[in-house]
């Protein structure tokens, strides 16, 4: 198994999101979700959320929370750490289909490729990753939080 989701900002570990604006906190009123951009002009969703619509170029996209659940479209397992990545290997990797119509690239918390079948039910979670060294030296955050999708044990 790869890394497991942890509580958001646990008191004993300094943690920060790997990048701002990717996902909400489990402690937020709406709970954990991905932030997608919704374009009022062409009605398309995109992720990560940006003010500009990557489909029609309109500005003023609205941020919406999506992807609390998903189903696997295609998956594989990464066996060697790519440049700049300091987390665990192997790790699952794939494209997941969100009920809102988005198809998102994501780390998958499953390293047995036989389990990574199309249609596998998934739910959104968080994983912790080591912080790049320069930040540690400055006494800032010690871990980074990123999203992943985990196999959902049972359908709700």
């Amino acid at each position: 198994m790869g890394t497991r989701a942890q509580n958001w900002y646990p008191e004993d570990v300094q943690s920060r999101p790997i990048h701002e604006g990717l996902f909400s906190s489990p402690g937020d009123p709406g709970g954990l979700g991905l932030y997608a951009g919704y374009c009022w002009s062409c009605k398309a969703l995109h992720f990560p959320a940006t003010d500009d619509c990557p489909y029609c170029g309109a500005t003023g996209c609205e941020t919406r929370i999506v992807g609390k659940t998903a189903s696997l479209y295609l998956g594989t397992v990464v066996t060697a750490a790519p440049p700049g990545y300091h987390g665990e290997v192997p790790y699952g990797f794939g494209l997941v289909d969100l009920p809102e119509g988005l198809r998102v690239i994501s780390v998958i918390a499953e390293t047995d490729v036989k389990q990574l079948r199309p249609g596998l039910p998934l739910r959104l979670g968080l994983r912790t990753l080591p912080c790049p060294e320069p930040e540690q030296a400055e006494g800032e955050a010690l871990t980074l939080a990123s999203w992943h999708y985990e196999p959902a044990a049972e359908s709700p």
Binding site: H19, P82, Y91
Partner: protein
């Protein structure tokens, strides 16, 4: 107004491989000199000077060679003065440079244009400045994983098996045996390919091309010469992606379910055939993008050599020699040659010129009259060029 024809007067290649003693400038210079010498050999003995001496412009394709890479090459041989433009378009950099150079001749603005490409690739998994650092830290950037997802889709939707993927490698490596410019010149078996390390299921190590080093050069001219079999660049088209597909070479973090816009390869191929006033049935040989074994099958589908979803059947028919209408990657492809980004697309053009001049030696495709070259990669960029023999 009819466009001026574009002829390929000279071609040159530096072998693909690893050359720690040589700078990228030296690799490029080798290919440029070879192309100029080739053009000179094809020029009328008492006639006008070879186009290398009368350049109107030069385009240099490279991704990792830094500032003014092309200028550094041409400064070595006194070929400066005309405009020199350095072009980056990922795997299709050479195709981008070629289409720019060709269009300037077609329009009548220039008569002689040098197009060359060169690269010394970093070793190992290719690090790209394409993604922001947080994507690297999050593990969202491994190139082989993106290749693997495309291959997984072929397995799901095109009846492709792991054995088919291995057979693509067997096919290309067999062709590469006869190519003195290739890095790998040994045949491999399906079993050996499947026994090589699993990188990202279903892709094993030998199903991935090796980033390496090399250079290629092509001299374009509005006039032909008597010394070589005239080869015309009938079409050269560059296209980028349309948004929507999460699996495209533009590697977005999201796409839309059910949104499958036409791939830039399909668009470029259709427009190139229209530009050359040809149909796919006229094409005798194809050099296509085989960054990995799955990409070769996808390229076959996207170019229209078979219907979408028939890639697996196409590869099996080719393997059984039951269908030999088009020769695929007679050079051995990137799986045999390796991939120096800036040089790879132009090396395809060099191979097609040799094939159309009937000077490709043991790997000659008999009676080749028309060839198509295809590259696709980061951007996304896709280029399709068509060469015909006169």
């Amino acid at each position: 107004m009819s466009a001026n024809p574009v002829y390929i007067r000279g071609v040159g290649l530096h072998p693909f491989g690893r050359f720690p003693e040589q700078s990228v400038t030296e690799l490029g210079l080798h290919a440029v000199r070879a192309a100029i010498a080739d053009a000179a050999a094809g020029s009328d003995p008492a006639g006008s000077r070879a186009p290398g001496n009368t350049l109107d412009a030069a385009f240099c394709a490279s991704v990792y060679s830094g500032v003014a890479a092309g200028h550094k090459v041409l400064s070595r041989i006194g070929c400066t003065g005309p405009p020199i433009m350095n072009i980056e378009a990922g795997c299709a950099s050479g195709g981008a440079a070629l289409s720019l150079g060709a269009d300037l001749i077609r329009s009548g603005r220039y008569r002689n244009v040098l197009v060359f490409g060169m690269e010394k690739m970093p070793r190992g998994m290719i690090r790209s400045s394409f993604f922001p650092p947080w994507c690297e830290q999050a593990g969202l950037t491994p190139a082989p994983a993106y290749f693997a997802l495309r291959a997984q889709r072929l397995i799901q939707e095109s009846g492709v098996t792991r054995e088919d993927l291995a057979d693509v490698v067997v096919h290309n490596r067999r062709k590469g045996v006869d190519n003195p410019f290739a890095m790998f010149r040994k045949e491999v078996s399906q079993e050996e390919v499947l026994q090589s390390r699993l990188v990202c299921d279903p892709l094993h190590l030998w199903m991935l091309c090796s980033p390496n080093e090399g250079a290629a050069a092509v001299l374009l001219s509005s006039e032909t010469a008597s010394g070589h079999t005239p080869v015309e660049l009938a079409a050269s088209v560059l296209r980028s992606h349309q948004p929507g597909s999460a699996l495209g070479e533009h590697t977005p973090l999201s796409g839309r379910i059910g949104d499958d816009p036409e791939s830039p390869t399909t668009t470029a191929a259709r427009e190139a055939l229209a530009q050359g006033k040809l149909s796919l049935g006229d094409i005798d040989l194809v050099e296509l993008q085989d960054t990995d074994a799955g990409r070769q099958i996808l390229s076959i589908e996207e170019l229209g050599l078979c219907a979408a979803g028939d890639g697996g059947a196409y590869v099996r028919a080719e393997q059984q020699k039951s269908k030999q209408t088009v020769a695929i990657n007679p050079s051995g492809g990137l799986l045999s040659k390796g991939e120096p980004l800036g040089a790879s697309a132009l090396a395809q053009i060099v191979e097609l010129v040799w094939q159309l001049r009937a000077s490709a030696g043991a790997r000659q495709v008999p009676g080749a009259k028309a060839g198509l070259a295809h590259t696709v990669g980061r951007g996304a960029n896709a280029s399709v060029s068509i060469l015909v023999r006169h």
